[in-house]
Every structure is written in C-alpha cells, then in structure tokens.
Assembly symmetry: C2
C-alpha cells in the first residue's frame, strides 16, 4: 500500500491515547497493516440518548478521496443505523487480539492486541464509481481477488446498498505485545509469567449445498485458507 508519503498519526484531543501512553503507535503504516489484517470493525454511532456499537465488514483505500485515506463501511439502504449516521460523527474501532498476558498477579494480567480508533464524519458515498469501488474493496478485503471472478453487480443490488466513508485523518492506534510487566517481588517469588499467542485460522472452504457437482474451489477462496486447510479441502473434494 502506498502509505509511505502519509504523515505520522497525529492524535487530536478526541483520539489521543490517554492511558498507557507507552502503547500508542504513531507509525501510519502500522495502522494500515492492522486495518489490512482485521476483518471486522465496530462502528459506534449515537442513537437518540445512547451510543450503539455494531460489528460490520469494512475496507480501506489508502488512496481514497479523503485526506490520509478512506475507510468504507456498507449496509442496507433500509438500515436504521446507517441512515442515522450519515453526516454524523462516528467512531470506528478495529481490534485484533494477539495474545493473553499471564502476569504474576491478577492486576498485571492483560492482553496483547492492536487496536485503532478512527473518529470522523460519516459521508454517504453518492458517486457511482466510488461506490462500486468501495463495494469491491469490501469483498476483496474478505477474499482477495474475489470480485474479478464475479458478475458485475446489478443496478438493483447497487441501489439496495449504501456505502459510508470515514476519513482516516483522525486516527489513533495502540499496541501491546510480549511479556507481562510484573512487580519485581512477584518475579522474585518464582511465579510463572508469560503469554499465550492467539491467532486466527481459516479452515478448508465448505462448498454450498446447492453448488453444481464437480465445481472446483476458486483460487481466490482457496487462497484465504491456510496451506494445511487448503490441502484438506483438496482431499475432501476427491
């Protein structure tokens, strides 16, 4: 991704990391790497008197029309949350869990993670080309290369889908990795400390029950799964 010319993350009062400042990340390429790894964003909007947080697919265009790049979300044009957030300031948070941190005391238990918080105005994407591009990005973010293997979306499908854009200007990122940070006396006492790495795996693709007989798993779909899972899928297809 062409992120090299982007400025470092410069938090505003709204995105400044106020706790655990040592965990703040100011490298914009780390932000893009996280947004690339993660599959789900949590969108926070204000609904009447209370906040509402909804999980959603997303994609990023580092070269999108907004300064510092554009984050895209989509939903049904009939979705209440989507209508309510157009023009409003929203918060999009993306988190990847990387590990469990077993400290030598309850107090020093933690998690290893990367998280990004993006705050900005939600713009309804009205330009047909940008909308089509954003929808392709969202599908290809899940399954890279998938859209080129599919028929174009129909006008009816496009009309049923709304796309929101949030600029990546106001973003902050936090990261924690590695060992627990414990009280020296607990280390001295010989209590075991450490961490348990956590990662996501993709298993072998499962063909739909209504597939035509003998269809091969498309390369784009097969490539998502881990090497082991793909090999298992190959066997299962025999």
């Amino acid at each position: 991704m062409s992120t090299s010319i982007l400025p470092p993350l410069e938090p505003t009062d709204r995105t400044r990391v106020t706790r655990g400042r040592n965990r703040a990340v100011t490298d914009r390429s780390a932000l893009f790497a996280l947004l690339d790894d993660a599959l789900i964003a949590h969108l926070g909007i204000q609904v009447g008197e209370h906040p509402l947080v909804l999980p959603t697919a997303f994609a990023v265009d580092p070269d999108g029309p907004d300064e510092c790049g554009t984050l895209y979300l989509h939903g049904s044009v009939a979705a209440r949350w989507l209508r309510g957030s157009i023009g409003a300031t929203v918060c999009v948070t993306v988190t990847e869990l990387d590990g469990l941190v077993a400290g030598r005391s309850a107090f020093h238990h933690s998690m290893n993670y990367r998280s990004a918080v993006v705050i900005g105005p939600a713009r309804l994407v009205e330009d047909p080309e940008e909308r089509q591009h954003a929808l392709d990005l969202i599908v290809d973010h899940m399954i890279p290369g998938r859209t080129t293997t599919l028929r174009p979306s129909t006008r009816k499908e496009l009309a049923a889908t709304a796309v929101l854009a949030v600029p990546l200007i106001e973003a902050s990122m936090k990261e924690r990795a590695g060992d627990p940070v414990d009280e020296p006396s607990d280390v001295e006492d010989g209590v075991w400390g450490g961490h348990v790495p956590v990662r996501r795996v993709f298993d072998a693709p499962v063909p739909a029950a209504d597939n035509h007989r003998g269809l091969d798993v498309p390369l784009a779909v097969a490539s998502v799964a881990s090497a082991a899972a793909v090999s298992a899928a190959g066997s299962a297809a025999l």
Copy 2:
C-alpha cells in the same frame, strides 16, 4: 451456567434487530455461550459530541446482582473513558467471527458471526466483595482457574482499578451461519458458492524472559492452548 431460569431475550426498541430479522437469536443460553467464547468486548460511550468505542476485557456473572445477570468491565481509575461512563447509558458489543461467506455475487458476500449488543446503565461497583469477584472473573475468563494460583490483590492494586457493571437485561443477539443465500440464476450459472470457517487458536505459552529457570507452565495457562500447542510447548521446554 445457571441460565435455564432466565427469560428469553426480549428486545426493546433500542436493542431490537431491525435488519435481517431471521438472524435474531432469542435463546438466552446462546447469548451466554457467546459471552463465554469471546475475549474482547467493544464498549461504546458518549464523549462530548461523539461516540467513542474502546476494546476491553470483560466477564459475565449470570448470577450477578443485576436482573438477568451482570457484565463486568474494568479499567484504571484514572481512565477518562471510565470516569465519563459511570451512570451513563453505554453499549457493549461482543462479536465472534465464525466464517467468510463467499456468495456467487458481490452483493451476497457476507460473514458468519455471532454478535451481542447490550445496552444499559454503567454502574460503578463499590462493594469490595463484588469488585474482587468481578476482577477474578475477568482474569479467569481469559485463563480459567488462574486466580486461584495467584496471590491476593493488594489494597493498592484494588484501589487503582475501577469496575463497571452493566445489567444483561437489555440484550439482543444475532447469528449467521452456513451457506450463502444467492440469486437462483447465479447458482444455475454454476458459480461456486460456499464459506470459509474461521476460528481462533491459542499457541504454546511463551514464558516471560525474566522467569526463574525451570519453572513449569502452570496447568491453567497450559490448558488455554490447544492440545497441539501444549504438546509443542512441552517439547520446547525440554
């Protein structure tokens, strides 16, 4: 968990699933199972004029003091977000990604997932016993059985930690699983459809660099990792 006597999930206007009603789950035991599986919650609060969504550890006590059970979050007493949410209505969303759904068209791509949305007043837990219990639950939710192997928290540690409780009364849950739902014409055209299962794995525990020599990985920590990973840890320790 003693959830059998709890009422089914009865959404209010705030938590009603308005899109994809066929995906709404009304079985409270499914909610507790999801909250048991998930390790991170996304907490939505209102900060000034905008929503803020933060990832956080959590735990649930189905027999907690609140009707339908209590969800606990914790943070530093100095955390701005935590101070700001005491007494306010917050939204806690918990999502587990279970798969990528490769439809036969871009429009019918989706994800398999389980998600819960809990909306309610955030109560600062002031009772020392409830607070200690909640903190133990949060550690044991990450690493079951860990707290019984640790020294008790000090008064200073407890004083530095704030615990928030959110009642599980107002909760909704959505779930999607299995195959894509496609246009019959795309199925007819012989396009491959299916899904790619996604799951979380825990790798072998990594001892902290400052551990005493020869310490065994505690059983509670080893039990988190998958059988394969634990066996690898055993070999690595030799």
